[in-house]
């Protein structure tokens, strides 16, 4: 269970998130929805430790943690960015195995085996040796999902997973997210797309722009 308590985030004197709290239960899909500019991305960046919070605390199973200085041996949060941010200089396989081998010091064989299985599961079998530029948008997104999963996070977060995809692919992402839920993955989906949120989410958290 992830708990966020009293999160406040300011950019200079501008408050973007004010005293925000939420709880994400295990194996649940939480959608965070709100209009553009409401601070959804900022919230996600706080959860992933890319932004420092002005106030607030994060708890994983009742134990406080600091997203900015995460525990070396334990990945709590994984992220799929809006624009995926795959590493263009590495193959699909390289993108996925880089962090597990360098950060978790896992053996290359073991990591590649896991990666191959994950790729297979997301319909990317046979794409191991392609470079990101050779993939479609939807494929890139799935590689980004596998890359995050390969670190074995407790929670997987998505920023606007449908924004760069055409409508046909929206259902595909929804399916992937729901499949991962079956595998007991807890997920947070940030989106401005209410329909999509209603499709996938167990719980919907609204955020509004602060005046």
């Amino acid at each position: 269970m992830l708990e966020i308590k009293g999160l406040t985030k300011k950019f200079g004197s501008k408050t973007v998130i004010n005293d925000f709290s939420m709880t994400v239960a295990d194996n649940e899909i939480m959608a965070i929805v709100g209009p553009s500019g409401a601070g959804k991305t900022t919230l996600l960046r706080c959860i992933t430790g890319l932004e420092r919070v002005n106030a607030g605390a994060f708890y994983w199973n009742g134990k406080q943690f600091d997203p900015v200085n995460p525990d070396k041996n334990d990945t709590i949060i994984g992220v799929v960015f809006q624009d995926y941010q795959l590493f263009p200089n590495l193959t699909v396989m390289g993108n996925i195995t880089l962090a597990p081998t360098l950060v978790k010091k896992l053996g290359a064989d073991e990591v590649e085996k896991t990666a191959t299985a994950l790729l297979e599961r997301l319909g990317l079998g046979g794409k191991e040796n392609l470079y990101p530029y050779q993939l479609s948008g939807g494929q890139k997104q799935r590689v980004a999902i596998v890359r995050a999963l390969a670190m074995n996070p407790k929670i997987l977060c998505y920023d606007e997973p449908t924004s760069a995809l055409d409508p046909a692919l929206r259902d595909e992402v929804a399916q992937i997210i729901l499949d991962l839920k079956k595998q007991k993955m807890t997920q947070i989906v940030v989106t401005h797309d209410m329909d999509f949120a209603k499709n996938v989410a167990d719980e919907i958290q609204q955020v509004e722009q602060i005046q």
Binding site: T48, G78, L86, F87, L102, V103, Y131, R147
Partner: protein, 214 residues
């Protein structure tokens, strides 16, 4: 004619050796130094950025010829004495490091922030991020500009002539003056062309290899 060419060729080749020695040592030292300086230039440590910018400005804002003369003829006035060859190396490395630093700075700045954040979320260290993600991308971005500087360096190396080092140009000039013949200078031109052609081919090969990804 052939006989004359054979006669002056050893001197020209000896000069070529000097030219190549300056060329390679300058590249071997200046490219890594330039990359390190560029890391400083894109850092958030203001005093360092300021110092490096001044260095850059001095090196790129004055002629290399002046720097060469300054190191060899100027510095002895205040008691710093270099041998000819060392003076040439100091001037060339200092000068080219500044140019390479500027190229690498541009390269580092063109790697999107998102790449750093992506690596950060995967919990790579700064060093790992630089090595595995940033350097390969920067390398590809800067390759054409580095290539230009490499070609320039082949030709710039002839400036050492002014401090009396026996490089290719000097060897040709000596022979021309002695024998009152244009042949040595033509040969010098041909050798420079050959050197730049080899550089161009090698660079093209490297560029091609780096094109497996985009």
């Amino acid at each position: 004619m052939i006989q004359y060419i054979m006669q002056i060729l050893p001197a020209l080749l000896a000069g070529t050796k000097m030219t190549l020695s300056i060329f390679f040592w300058t590249l071997i030292c200046s490219i890594p130094l330039g990359a390190i300086l560029a890391l400083g230039l894109v850092s958030n440590f203001k005093p360092l950025v300021w110092v490096l910018n001044v260095y850059d400005w001095l090196m790129r804002g004055t002629p290399l010829l002046l720097q060469l003369i300054f190191v060899f003829y100027g510095l002895p006035v205040i008691g710093i004495i270099f041998q000819r060859y060392d003076a040439a190396m100091v001037a060339f490395i200092l000068n080219y490091t500044a140019y390479f630093a500027e190229i690498f700075r541009g390269g580092f700045q063109s790697v999107p922030r998102g790449q750093f954040e992506s690596a950060r979320v995967l919990r790579l260290t700064y060093g790992q991020t630089i090595r595995k993600i940033v350097i390969p991308q920067v390398f590809k971005i800067v390759l054409p500009s580095i290539g230009n500087e490499v070609i320039n360096l082949v030709k710039d190396s002839s400036l050492v002539y002014v401090i009396g080092l026996g490089d290719l140009l000097r060897a040709g000039n000596v022979a021309t003056a002695r024998d009152v013949s244009l042949v040595p200078l033509v040969l010098v031109g041909i050798i420079y062309l050959a050197l730049t052609a080899v550089c161009t081919i090698v660079l093209k090969m490297i560029e091609k290899r780096s094109n497996v990804w985009r």
